[in-house]
């Protein structure tokens, strides 16, 4: 069922395309050797090149190109063996050269696609138009002094990948799912840390609305949205605004807008008439970027397994449900954790424990998988104790809780707390005899055909054994004795 917004004149469809700026994970900037670490003191990671000093020249950082190519391959996209850097000219205080070096006409990566997963379990392909490399600008700080602005050039020259989608999304959920999936792929590839709070991933959202079946209407661009939730909110707010404009008999004007996260609405930043004339032209300081096919092949051969392939493997090889496979592959770290737990064990059982009690434990204790007190090795150890009969499922849950609290391995907790399951048939038989003696009336009822009472005896026996009786043995012996 497709998403529409009901207006006064009927249903409206929303058309969304995203331009995502992803900061390339690299030691050095795109055209200089300066460092790129986040959060450094202002203006401590700036070379003379980044500051636009006279006579300074850009030299391409090979690693940034490799990262862009990795990303392109991860998006199943065309890698252009010939691409070019252009200058985008405009004046701003945090743009030291007076131009941004970007790839306007000939990007390094061409068309690709991303498969997105929607909450109802369905999937959809979203086209990628292009990916290009460009420099980030510095940062203007307007709040440090009553009448002065400060400039921090640490970010100036940092490599960005601009990833442009086709206008293929039709709902806020699809836009959210696209960004989620793109971030997941970038993190799997290690080409961008995907950290939206720190600004290493930012989205410009292009929105238009139309009556179902129509061609595209005028779009507006909502700039620099910095969380997935805000992207979804911005899409809806902007779509509703445009519907109001159209329904009032007016025209939507093509313009750049900002999303006000507190008021939940977009407002105009600059209209098309004020748009800069960027005077793009090929950067004469940089020869065309020419890649060798065998180098691209090498990069491809070194790519890690991507989320879609990993998910398929979990379903095919491990027999997991598509849902579990999806949940376990969302984050690279989760998948790695799961695979350690599952190694040499029952993969389904491992999946149940990871997605069930382990995730619940993380939530309860406020941890993430990165700083989990329970290591994958220890969770695996817990599963081993279930398998060899040392722990019942119920006891194992208790042990896991203790593991979250103490960070200790399961064997140590079992030892300390004497939680070991009783498998001594003699002990179990003795306990069962006791239970049967106390409940002679129930025994008689059972023997006269009230089969349902079997569960009662199991419960009583386990209760008497403080839960430590081996359930299989308890069952077996009870059946024999009650017969």
């Amino acid at each position: 069922m497709s998403y529409t917004i009901e207006g006064a004149t009927g249903a409206w469809e929303v058309v969304i395309g995203l331009e995502v700026h992803a900061q390339v994970t690299s030691e050095a900037k795109l055209f200089s050797g300066a460092a790129t670490e986040f959060g450094a003191e202002p203006n401590t990671q700036v070379s003379f090149i980044d500051a636009g000093f006279p006579g300074m020249l850009p030299v391409i950082n090979r690693e940034c190109v490799a990262q862009a190519v990795r990303t392109g391959l991860g998006l199943k996209a065309q890698v252009n063996l010939w691409s070019r850097f252009d200058r985008k000219n405009y004046f701003y205080a945090d743009l030291p050269q007076g131009y941004q070096i970007s790839q306007y006409q000939f990007p390094v990566i061409g068309q690709g696609e991303i498969q997105i997963e929607l909450p109802d379990g369905s999937t959809k392909m979203i086209g990628i138009t292009r990916l290009h490399l460009e420099q980030d600008a510095g940062k203007s700080l307007h709040d440090q002094h009553p009448n002065k602005s400060y400039i921090d050039l640490n970010r100036s020259g940092v490599a960005l990948m601009e990833i442009v989608s086709e206008p293929d999304m039709r709902s806020p959920e699809e836009a959210g799912a696209y960004l989620t999936k793109l971030r997941q792929i970038l993190r799997y590839l290690g080409t961008c840390d995907g950290n939206m709070e720190q600004g290493s991933l930012r989205a410009d959202v292009n929105v238009s609305v139309r009556k179902p079946g129509e061609g595209f209407r005028t779009r507006c661009e909502v700039k620099n949205v910095n969380s997935i939730r805000f992207v979804m909110q911005a899409v809806e707010a902007e779509a509703r605004r445009q519907i109001e404009v159209w329904e009032a008999g007016e025209e939507v004007v093509q313009e750049t807008r900002l999303f006000d996260t507190t008021r939940g609405e977009t407002r105009s930043m600059r209209s098309k008439e004020d748009a800069h004339d960027y005077r793009y032209f090929p950067d004469p300081d940089l020869p065309p970027l020419v890649l060798q096919q065998d180098w691209v092949d090498q990069v491809k051969a070194g790519l890690p397994e991507l989320p879609d392939e990993r998910r398929a493997r979990y379903v095919g090889e491990y027999g997991l449900t598509p849902y579990d496979a999806h949940v376990l592959t969302l984050e690279k770290e989760t998948a790695a954790f799961y695979e350690t737990v599952a190694a040499g064990r029952d993969p389904k059982m491992a999946a149940n424990w990871v997605t069930g009690d382990f995730f619940a434990g993380l939530n309860r204790t406020g941890h993430s998988i990165g700083d989990s007190p329970v290591s994958a090795e220890n969770l695996g150890g817990l599963l081993d104790l279930i398998k060899d009969g040392t722990l019942s499922g119920k006891l194992a849950k208790e042990v896991l809780e203790a593991m979250f609290e103490t960070g200790k391995p399961p064997a140590a907790i079992v030892e300390e707390r004497g939680l070991k399951q009783v498998t001594d048939t003699g002990a179990i038989e003795a306990m069962i005899d006791e239970v049967m003696a106390k409940n002679a009336d129930k025994v008689a009822e059972y023997r006269s055909g009230k089969d349902k009472l079997f569960g009662f005896f199991v419960g009583q026996t386990m209760k008497a054994m403080q839960g430590k009786g081996n359930p299989a043995l308890v069952n077996e012996i009870l059946k024999r004795k009650l017969a």
Binding site: G55, G98, D277, F281, P284, D285
Partner: protein, 494 residues
């Protein structure tokens, strides 16, 4: 004995090696000459006597230890477009204020590596934009040559490397660095009666040279002989990983190539360079050059470079376009001149209005215009297409010839007050030189004769990309035959 300032670079090197003169004496002689003549010629924007003497002392110590390098103790002028660590670098513009670079250009660092002494920073047209060295914010440079009978008329030294050429001609330096974007080495060399080569684009690193037009700018030397140019270029050239357009090729022994001779070489004479209105004495000098080469065993071949007539307009689109972008960084925010304003835009406008001279503003405006939406295809893209055709003209020529002989300029040095009101007439100075920049090929200007009033005239030798060796061989042959020995009116020890 020859006065220290009259020595050639090679001659001075030999004299130093024989200990006939010390590096300090040599340097002091040049500093004295600068002190005497620079107030008039204005060839230097900044003179660095203490630094020069300290370098000369170090050179004498190295010579004493027997550790002479190719340029040990040889005093040079450095065009003030090359960034020199710790020494003010101005590009002859107000906008750089008192900018002192904390870094050294690759070319000058290689000269220092090879032992050179830097006398100071040579004047130029502002941001290397000009053909008369009249657009410098630090005042015009005077050509040391005088028209016979018009000693009171101040002539221009050519541009943009006017300070470099004037300093070398007047014996204020043994040689100088220069840059050539449309003729800025060869035209002033011709006007001042000295030699100068613009090597192949990519031969010298552009790192640390203040950019005018990046796809055309190339550093080269100015000196009094072809051999001196070769010696200097050997130190200046070479691959630099800090310049992505620098060529990763070995640097041949240019000085050795000078004496190869021209026997068996095919020399192209481009038909399209026989301009209407070319002064008879320049046409005659060109004919004379052909006769010399023929007599030495070269074959003359008439060739066609059909797109020559489009070279000048192409240059005056490409160069300003790149300049308009290259000069955007001079905004008053991080270094150089700042004129505070009401807001950021006002700061930009005031700073750039006060900081740039008229010619620079003109070229920024032209460049901004040709890159603007709606004009880009008609001007910039078209110019790039024509540029490719001009390059192709030369590619075809090299199938028939090994080098090309042409005049360097359509006239001898003109008066400072002439041509100033007509930018287009001024641009015509570059008519024979811009093609080499557009095609990226090397071009050498050699003093080959004088006009009727005794002013020097140059002949230009063009060659294949990265074949400066043949260019030097032909240039040396012209030089030997011309036996150019006239001296400028204003010179040291005169």
């Amino acid at each position: 004995m020859t006065a220290a300032t009259d020595l050639t670079l090679a001659g001075a090197r030999a004299a130093l090696a024989r200990r006939e003169i010390s590096a300090v004496e040599l340097t002091r002689a040049h500093l004295e000459a600068i002190e005497a003549l620079n107030p008039r010629l204005n060839a230097f924007i900044t003179v660095t006597p203490e630094q020069a003497l300290a370098q000369a002392e170090a050179a004498d110590a190295a010579l004493a230890r027997g550790e002479a390098k190719p340029l040990t103790g040889l005093p040079l002028a450095i065009k003030d477009l090359f960034c020199t660590a710790g020494t003010r670098t101005t590009a002859a513009s107000r906008i750089l204020g008192d900018f002192v670079p904390p870094y050294e250009s690759t070319v000058t660092s290689q000269l220092l590596r090879d032992g050179a002494v830097f006398l100071g920073k040579a004047n130029l047209d502002e941001f290397a934009m000009g053909s008369s060295n009249t657009s410098s914010a630090f005042g015009a440079v005077e050509n040391p040559w005088k028209r016979q009978g018009e000693e009171g008329t101040v002539l221009v030294p050519g541009g943009s490397s006017g300070g470099s050429a004037a300093a070398v001609a007047a014996r204020l330096a043994l040689g100088a660095t220069a840059t050539d974007t449309g003729g800025s080495i060869r035209q002033p060399a011709a006007f001042c009666g000295v030699a100068g080569i613009k090597p192949t684009y990519g031969r010298c690193s552009r790192f640390g040279i203040i950019a005018y037009a990046s796809s055309l700018d190339q550093a080269g030397p100015v000196a009094r002989t072809v051999e001196d140019c070769a010696i200097l270029l050997n130190s200046m050239a070479g691959f630099d990983p800090r310049d992505s357009t620098s060529a990763d090729l070995p640097v041949p022994d240019f000085a050795a190539a000078c004496e190869r001779g021209v026997k068996g070489l095919r020399i192209g004479i481009p038909r399209e360079y026989r301009l209407d209105g070319l002064p008879a004495e320049i046409a005659a000098l060109w004919e004379q050059g052909m006769a010399w080469l023929k007599a030495e065993g070269a074959t003359l071949v008439e060739i066609s470079l059909p797109h020559t007539k489009y070279a000048l307009p192409t240059y005056y689109i490409v160069a300003p376009a790149e300049a308009s972008s290259n000069l955007a960084r001079y905004d008053g925010v991080r270094f150089g001149l700042r004129e505070n304003g009401e807001d950021l835009k006002d700061l930009y406008e005031r700073t750039r209005a006060a900081g740039f001279g008229e010619e620079v503003k003109r070229r920024i405006l032209i460049g901004t215009y040709v890159l603007s939406a709606g004009y880009y295809d008609a001007y910039y893209v078209k110019a790039q297409q024509v540029r490719a055709l001009i390059r192709q003209d030369f590619d075809h020529a090299w199938e028939q010839v090994d080098a090309i002989l042409a005049p360097t300029t359509p006239s001898a040095a003109f008066g400072r007050d002439e041509k100033q009101d007509d930018p287009v007439a001024m641009y015509l100075n570059d008519v024979f030189t811009v093609t080499a920049n557009l095609a990226g090929i090397p071009g050498l200007s050699v003093p080959a004769g004088q006009d009727a009033k005794g002013l020097p005239l140059g002949l230009q030798i063009l060659g294949r990309r990265f074949d400066e060796e043949t260019v030097f061989a032909v240039g040396r042959a012209i030089e030997r035959n011309a036996g150019f020995s006239a001296l400028p009116a204003l010179r040291a020890a005169a």
